[in-house]
Symmetry: C2
Subunit: 210 residues, 2 copies
């Protein structure tokens, strides 16, 4: 474990700051103030400064933060030394949306394989990513040194994937099915159900109206 | 605003509890203990009881919570009296994944329309949902009484959608593009970038390994 213990929410925001900073950098912006970053993310400048203080970044000058320096600093926090390999399980619309979208970017996270039970897909290359039959899961995970999987399979098969994922030695799971999954300690799991997100938005819309 | 102020995280968990409870109910389970719900969601029973206490539900018996009663109680918290109408902006893979997935369920949230600039899609019916050209956005939103939109468009056009969304009187936005968007007070926005979720999982995997 790292010396500092960074809260999940801060990790999420750092990832978001970095994305914004990269596009600023592409637009030739060299320096940026915390309140500008805050504005772009709809949060307070205090929050931004607190997050950056938490990771030990404190080079705010009269000109604001040096964008490139800050990006590299966040890289040092978020990125692991070597590229982490990701596999998508379930190459339906969601799986394809994720690969298309994600591999269009530079990353030290790389989607290197996908898996599907559909014989129409298994054996094909979809969006430049080889799609394998689920039967090959364990073998391919080892061969391709995959340690993270994204579950975009139908919800009703999600539970059946838990054991293969454990057996294959996967260390992180991003689960988009609507079945929350539990894994043994040592395997990071994030359950994200789109229905939950929509119901959450709908709830706060309702609250605003009442 | 409602009398009690329920934290976002609790709202998310209530939505997840309800989904679990519904499937329990379908399987003929009539009563359930907080620690069972907790187990299914990988959280503590204390957390579950705290959430339910927060919404004023406290009918834990020797047999556990009455599943149907609890579902209806959560309905009363999360659901608005009348069905809320949702539109998807951007019917690429992600947009289609969301409609397919979401409308396969019963909801008092209903996806009633989608919008796309692609002439191949506009005018068509995709997954039983009419797809309109973005030019018709304002008119259709009013006609179909839509108050929530899901943004699954390419990131580079996301900013251009802010003004039309405001003008159309939309009250809630679930933004899946990687451009965080700000809206005037009174419009609920949730920015969910899949990259952030993946980077978060990758970070905690890395931390576990170190």
């Amino acid at each position: 474990m790292s010396a500092i213990n960074i809260p999940e929410k801060t990790i999420e925001r750092l990832s978001e700051y970095r994305r914004t900073l990269r596009s600023c950098s592409e637009q030739g912006i060299t320096h940026i103030f915390s309140h500008v970053i805050a504005g772009m993310h709809g949060i307070t400048a205090v929050q931004v400064r607190r997050d950056l203080m938490l990771i030990g970044f404190s080079s705010d000058t009269k000109k604001g933060y040096d964008v490139r320096v800050l990006i590299e600093f966040i890289d040092g926090i978020l990125d692991s030394r070597d590229v982490q390999h990701i596999a998508i399980i379930g190459m339906g619309h969601l799986g394809q949306a994720i690969t298309k979208y994600f591999n269009s970017k530079r990353h030290n996270l790389s989607i290197v394989a996908s898996f599907d039970v559909d014989p129409e897909k298994a054996g094909q290359t979809i969006d430049d990513i080889p799609c394998y039959d689920m039967d090959e899961f364990e073998r391919r995970v080892e061969e391709l040194d995959i340690n993270i999987v994204v579950l975009s399979s139908p919800t009703d098969v999600a539970s059946e994937l838990v054991v293969p994922i454990i057996n294959a030695g996967i260390k992180g799971v991003l689960n988009f099915t609507s079945k929350p999954l539990n894994f043994p300690r040592g395997i990071v799991v994030e359950n994200y159900d789109i229905t939950t997100l929509l119901e959450k938005v709908a709830y706060f819309v309702k609250e605003n109206e009442e």
